[in-house]
Assembly symmetry: C2
Homo-oligomer: 393 residues x 2
């Protein structure tokens, strides 16, 4: 299918989500009832719940993906050999993407839209607590996509809630080309442990912010507060604050975090800054709190900070706050994480904030794609060779 | 280490291979003696055997890799966000590459050089029949590399011939970032089946050449002969010839292949072209012969050719010979293999022929890198974000 035809089909799918609002919300009500009856936690119920505004958000997101530039067909590079062979590398779809996710029903539409935009098929496996909602969203998507000429097989929702279906997806090497798990650490860990298919994921977001000796005190405070407290539960939230022993304003920095309602767990030197800081144990440095808790260590300069990050970072996002441009350059060069930032909040680690329009996920693996992954990461390439009858000597 | 320092260390390693010629050939003689005593096949002994010319070739190849452009540090793309954040994606080494290979001792030097050039560490596991040769080559490499400032740990040769070492490499997820098997199908299949680490490889090279109705008869004959008979045993050799029923010169084409010493196995229509063609059975269409044997089918136009290739290609290299540029464009667009060629011999499927300078291998997987993989495929990227104190709203 042409890029324009795929985009148009997604616009039709977004329309179907809107005209299907009543049916989708009715299905969602069934899931919410069942969730309440089975004692789902309020936070889970909130993730599950749709209303007209949220559903409009889902439809708008599908439209936004439809309007993104299509990577398929882009020429990555080209060359001509001395024998006249013309080579080019051209982006093509990966093939079939499996998405395994938990209670948020928006993933059904988001993931399907991203896959279709980049010419892939999607096999969706949502959480059992959202089964009616996912079926209703999937039905609306398919109604729009097929009207636009996309075969209904291009977006499939696993019909059974049997857990064995997940195992079948994870072992479907050669049939499913890549699996993207979307959900909590338990889900991601299981997928990573059991998959025989390549997995695009991050297990942990243990993100560090290093306050260099040269950091501007106001900037350090503002960025650190944002990195932890804007939304403590996202994967780009800071989990460890490293303060240089030469930084001039350490006490005010930790006081601002404590005053904002963040619990701090510190090493001995950090605790000397404020009596409200409780002791950190060895596990704290490897813990993704995902709440208003932060571990704090005092470090003796750049090498010490780099060593701590090398040992404890999950490779997601690490940040330096520094006015010293040489220090910043060293940090950006030497920290080996998917995202390395200078003078910015780690909460910017997001495909939308990076201008990608959307994201299928954030990857901390080392191959294929790292950091926020959007349409380009849902493609691969092939080599095209154009000759005029060349035989190899 | 800087790019220049790594390149210089590789030049020193090449020098050590030259000054160590006597010791390396003596070690090789031990392996050859042991191989003869244990009844190694003559072809295996030939792969194992070094002489001064072959060793000079190995040293020159290391120098050539040293002189390749370093991908590390290359900026893939960059952008600036409306909030002033400056983003860039920069190539970085993957990390630690495991190479598992069979009798050819040149892989010890080739793979180590490619890994070091792109800033990676290499863990080498060679075949037991080349153990003395590999140790001698490794010793020379390390002598040069360490003189140039590369730590000796950057290129490690597994010291034991215990088969369990291979299993340990294959399960070393988080320690080894990628495994490259180099050898026969048995080795590659075992690695692909057992690895918990990403694998860069091709299992089969079942390469097709489709002779379109519009093909120039002389070009079709010359390219087809080259694609099969230049070196029938390489992965880019043609294994199946698809002749369009409308092609005007089919009999002369198959006669030329038969006359060159190639055995042909054909479907009923192909066999009607020449009595020397024997019947192909169902397995022939999925067989990589790697010798002077070729399967031949007559196809009814483009759709039939595409359907055959979709069903039987191993995704390595497929070729169309055609004067009709629309037909060629359709073939290049629709065939989903790592390499798709128009009017050229499939034997060009090679990193050197593609201008990459060398190759660590040819990949038929869909993620990370496809086709001939050289230095770029031995890197990944990280995102650098440069701000001025931005906090996320």
């Amino acid at each position: 299918m042409s890029s324009g035809a795929r985009a148009h089909a997604l616009i039709l799918a977004a329309e179907q989500l809107r005209t299907g609002t009543e049916a989708i919300l009715a299905a969602n009500a069934l899931d919410l009832e069942a969730g309440k009856a089975s004692g789902l936690a309020p936070a889970m119920l909130d993730r599950l719940k749709l209303d007209e505004a949220r559903l409009e958000g889902i439809a708008s997101a599908v439209e936004a993906v439809a309007n993104l530039d299509d990577p398929v067909g882009q020429v990555i590079d080209q060359s001509e050999r001395p024998n006249g062979l013309k080579l080019s590398r051209v982006r093509v779809p990966i093939g079939t993407i499996g998405i395994i996710y938990e209670s948020r029903p928006n993933v059904t539409a988001d993931a399907a839209a991203l896959c279709v935009r980049a010419g892939n098929a999607a096999i969706l496996r949502g959480g059992s607590e959202a089964v009616h909602t996912n079926r209703a969203i999937h039905g609306a998507l398919i109604a729009g996509l097929t009207t636009g000429g996309v075969p209904s097989e291009a977006v499939q929702l696993i019909p059974t809630q049997d857990r064995a279906a997940v195992g079948a997806m994870l072992s479907a090497a050669g049939l499913i080309d890549m699996i993207v798990p979307r959900g909590g650490k338990g889900l991601v860990a299981r997928v990573q442990a059991d998959a025989r298919v390549p997995v695009l994921a991050h297990l942990d977001g243990i993100c560090h912010t290093y306050i260099h000796a040269s950091a501007d005190p106001d900037m350090a405070r503002e960025v650190a507060l944002n990195a932890k407290m804007r939304r403590p539960g996202i994967c780009g939230a800071m989990e460890t604050l490293l303060i240089d022993t030469q930084f001039s304003d350490s006490s005010a920095l930790v006081a601002a975090l404590l005053d904002s309602g963040c619990a701090l767990r510190g090493d001995a030197r950090a605790r000397s800054l404020d009596t409200r800081i409780t002791p950190a144990n060895a596990e704290d440095w490897d813990t993704e709190y995902l709440e208003a808790v932060l571990s704090v260590a005092i470090v003796d300069g750049m090498e010490d900070a780099l060593a701590h990050i090398s040992r404890h970072s999950s490779g997601h996002t690490d940040v330096i706050i520094a006015d010293d441009t040489n220090a910043a350059a060293q940090f950006l060069n030497e920290v080996d994480s998917a995202i390395v930032m200078h003078n910015a909040s780690s909460q910017f680690a997001d495909g939308g904030e990076f201008g990608l329009g959307a994201e299928i996920g954030i990857a901390t693996g080392r191959l294929h794609a790292r950091g926020p992954v959007a349409l380009e990461g849902l493609t691969t390439y092939k080599w095209l060779v154009r000759g005029s009858g060349q035989a190899r000597p």
